[in-house]
Amino acid sequence: MLPASDQPVQVSPAVTVTGLVKQFGRFAALRGVTAEFASKRLYAILGDNGAGKTTLLRALAGLTPPTRGSIAMLGTTDLRSVCGQLGYMAHPSLLYDEMSGMENLRYFARLYDVKNCDQRCAEVIRAVKLDPSLTRPVGQYSQGMRQRMSLARALLNDPKILLLDEPFSNVDVRSAREMVSLLTDLRDSGKTIFVVTHQASLLEGAADEFVWMEVGQIVSRTPGLQAKVETR
């Protein structure tokens, strides 16, 4: 018998998805997704275009109401009540091009009632390796800088669950590796992270689980990237 400290602890899942169906007209983007995702883990969600990855992420964020099925997050199915504990980064930047990074984050910090607003904004901007004193409007940033600022926005409210859609697209390899390192640090600090990506290799060794999707369903969950490649 294992000593008490070594026994596996029963942790309630951070996210439970049950029979999730999402239809856009006659097209079913999600076809009965059922899964549990434990807390404090980093999940890479992979699949071809049209597999339903982004729709799943948007449904988790509460942006796309499901046609059928349910989502429980942090112990509740009322996603509105936990939206303050979510961080969402979409493929577009979700930033105002005419304002600087700091101005953008100050505004979004107000939406989350973030305390010590300026200090927190500067902290997350530095965390993504950008300069808080940059006065240029975001519209003049490079695509990679915009992606990182978008990640900073998602981190602003110190969320328990992070939902990231293609965070590494248009980001150079070095910056992408820095972002992965930041994500693993965040996971180690207790956050549950979902990353939709086509650049799975970047997350090898960092992600706890690779979730493979095909035609609106989760078809496989593997601990490593190689495992799925071998079974295909």
């Binding site: 509105r80 939206c83 969402y88 577009p92 979700l94 930033l95 105002y96 005419e98 939406l111 989350y112």
Partner: protein, 225 residues
């Protein structure tokens, strides 16, 4: 309540800053209104008496069409980079966003009116024969009627394919009672032939009803796909 007020202020400040930097809405509105004033003035060449009779309709139709430009801009800004989604995933109340947009549009249209009114006076040789102090009241109530409905319907038509066409189609029919009240009240004040009191009360009631209805329904519009 204070959270809504605080977020309304923050969103309004952000919108004013964005408009100050881009000048998208105000430039288009000014240009459009200017064209209306000049073209109508040269087309009809009315006498002072005729001007007083038609000015109410002319002024409000010009402001209504110009306001549509601003109303489309106000949400187009939120659709670029899908910034609206950032608001939708946050715990911020939908009404704060709506109120900020309404107040913002109210300010834009009021600035437009302040700039255009002297031109209307000059081009149409206007002088109020009735109680002129009622004109700012009619202007404020009429503008609020336009922007509160316009902001709401612009949000509704946001995800439609041809939203520039959809907005006037939705907005104009529902604005007819308000437009009628604005035109009649303005006409009454300019000509001095009858009292504008009934139309002002009607306009105030219209504003109250549609503001409450829009605030009640905006949450559904914002969260709709």
């Amino acid at each position: 309540m204070s959270a809504v007020a605080s977020l309304t202020r923050a969103t309004l400040a952000k919108d004013l800053r964005l408009e100050w930097r881009s000048k998208d809405a105000i430039n288009s509105m000014l240009f459009f209104s200017l064209l209306v004033v000049v073209i109508f003035s040269f087309s009809f060449d009315p006498t002072a008496e005729e001007s007083r009779q038609i000015a109410g309709g002319l002024v409000w139709v010009a402001f209504l069409f110009a306001a549509v430009v601003a109303l489309n801009q106000t949400w187009a800004r939120e659709m670029r980079n899908q910034v609206l989604d950032a608001y939708r995933v946050s715990p911020a109340p939908p009404n704060a966003l709506f109120l900020a947009k309404v107040v913002g549009n109210f300010i834009f249209v009021t600035v437009l009116q302040a700039l255009m009114t002297p031109l209307f006076i000059v081009f149409y040789n206007l002088r109020a024969l009735g109680p002129a102090y009622q004109l700012p009241i009619v202007a404020a109530l009429g503008t609020w009627a336009l922007v509160v409905n316009g902001t709401f319907f612009a949000a509704m038509s946001l995800r439609t394919r041809s939203r520039e066409i959809m907005l006037p189609l939705l907005l104009f029919p529902i604005s007819i009672p308000a437009l009628l009240a604005m035109v009649e009240a303005t006409g009454a004040i300019l000509t001095g032939e009858f009292s504008a009191r009934f139309w002002i009360v009607l306009l105030a009631a219209y504003d109250l009803v549609f503001t409450i209805a829009s605030l009640f329904l905006f949450g559904f519009v914002l969260q709709a796909e």
